[in-house]
Amino acid sequence: MNKVLMLLFVAGLAIIPLVSGDFYINLATQILIAAVFALSLNLLVGYGGLTSLGHVAFLGLSAYICAWTSTKLGVAPLVAIGLSLVITTIMSALFGLIALRATGLGFLMITLAISQVLWGLAYRWASVTNGDNGISGLTRPSLFGLSLDSASSFYWLTLIISIFAFILMAAFAMSAFGSSLQGTRDQARRMRALGYNVWLIRWITFIYSGFWAAVAGLLYVYYNKYIHPSALSVTASAEALLAVIAGGAGTLGGPIVGAALLVFLKNYASSFVERWNMLLGFIFVLIVLLMPDGIVPGVQRLIRRMRGAQS
């Protein structure tokens, strides 16, 4: 039943370019990219209990490396992509060493500080990043001779990568390792006594999560063909965190729902009012005060209650 629904859902996603115009295709692409990013953050926040406010560091790093090596060094796309993934994953291992000296609020503050340092660097290190002008001029590569320039072809590529990412992250969360990770979230001390290396479990998760954030960064930079320091801002981290929490941290569908809502809202609301940051702030406050569990767990509870009433 669940698998049938999922296949139908994917089929529905796949035919979007056949039934709608470029505006909605692009919107759907943005949602997929935001969802991959939110899913990667959810591994830390939802399954690991490690609330990071600096996850954009990895999206931004990967996007900047790709844009810089492609436009300034002129390397081939595959090389640029490989370099982005490898360097970003290594950096996430190094940042993980620092951030995981703490948990809880300390972890949150260190991740925030790290990403803010990178954000400042993106603005100031103009000889590499072009500073406030950002890096433009990136072109999408072609895949097996197929051009990715049209909205629909890039959407399909994004969809395939997103499905792949979802499967691999879901498998991670549901694996034996994922069970251990959730154990460290709920009862770290007991986990140690049961023979688990809690620190190593968290570090591996941090790196895996950083890798998928790097994948999201590549999609992001090829979609926009442009990267600007604002991609590394605390607002961007906060948006992703909001997608995870609003959708439901520690669920597989939650971050996707949250990402979709956020991208919709950002596109629609900001065409009416220019106050996206204020709106984002209000949503944050309201979600925390009124719906701390998120939307997906809330709906699941509702469905369970309705089923219970029927039987």
Binding site: L105, A113, M278
Partner: protein, 288 residues
């Protein structure tokens, strides 16, 4: 030589401003276990209140504006603590997210009210001219900022170490449960410390005006510096905030002057060293 003197004074002035920001952040974190991400926005809000007041009312001096900015932001902090944060007891994560949301709201509200162009805040005319000592020109206003920060540090030190209120704060930072158990009015203490921290940050924002001016993004520029100060100095430690502020002030100022591209990476190094070898910070005894 003139370069070193001026940059030296600049770094001390920045350190002083950072102390006004970070001391409140650190006290609030130490006592309430609350990472108040609104703190950078409060600093900016103070700057704008001061700038707006001086621009719209003739004859308001910087000092009056600083007091007004401090009081205005303290009032705002009281509302935030009393009506929102207090609804989320024992939910540190929810509290952080709320303060982050409120920071976005303040930042956007400032943009809405005061516009996107920086608003300069003039230093008092008698401090606008440099002071000549021994053949070197010292920017007089920066000297005064350093003196104000030192006075604030001394005042906070006396308050925390010598008064009844301070004794209660110290007890709360050390062991909240014990503090509750011996009958310290914890919730009132939270309000006082939150308002105090907010007020110092607000006044600090106005005092920063003649050096930095009020501009959109001031919050995002200051908050990471304050975070690094607190990580460096240790959470809840006034001494840590003091030493950390001046270390970061010096590193950031000289870093920007000598290696403008990489100043942010240089900021990173002391933080990494401290986290690696002393995760509780230089002067902290509570681990983050």
């Amino acid at each position: 030589m003139q370069f070193w003197v001026v940059q030296g004074l600049n770094s001390l002035a920045l350190g002083g401003l950072l102390f006004l920001l970070a001391s409140g952040f650190s006290l609030i974190f130490g006592l309430m276990r609350l990472a108040n991400l609104t703190h950078g926005a409060m600093f900016m809000l103070g700057a704008y209140i001061g700038a707006g007041l001086m621009r719209s009312v003739d004859g308001v001096s910087l000092w009056v504006a600083a007091i007004a900015g401090g009081l205005g932001v303290a009032l705002f902090g009281w509302v935030l603590e009393r009506f929102i944060l207090r609804r989320l007891p024992d939910n540190p994560l929810g509290q952080v997210l709320v303060t982050l949301g409120v920071a976005f709201i303040i930042a956007d509200a400032c943009l809405l009210i005061w516009g996107g162009d920086p608003i300069p805040i003039p230093a008092p005319s008698y401090l606008a001219r440099p002071l000549f000592v021994g053949g070197f020109a010292f920017p007089a206003y920066r000297l005064v900022v350093v003196l104000i920060a030192l006075a604030a540090a001394a005042g906070l030190y006396v308050m925390i170490e010598r008064t009844r209120l301070g004794a209660m704060i110290r007890a709360g930072v050390d062991d909240m449960q014990m503090a509750r158990a011996v009958g310290i009015p914890v919730s009132r203490l939270f309000s006082i410390v939150f308002c105090l921290g907010a007020g110092i940050a607000g006044a600090g924002g106005v005092l920063a005006g003649p050096i930095l001016s009020a501009y959109p993004g001031l919050d995002a520029d200051m908050l990471p510096l304050a975070l690094i100060v607190v990580i460096l100095g240790g959470i809840g430690s006034l001494m840590g905030a003091f030493v950390g502020s001046f270390i970061i002030g010096i590193i950031y100022t000289f870093g920007t002057a000598l290696l403008p591209d990489l100043a942010y990476i240089i900021l990173f190094l002391p933080m990494i060293v401290v986290i690696a070898f002393r995760p509780q910070g230089l002067f902290g005894h509570v681990s983050a």
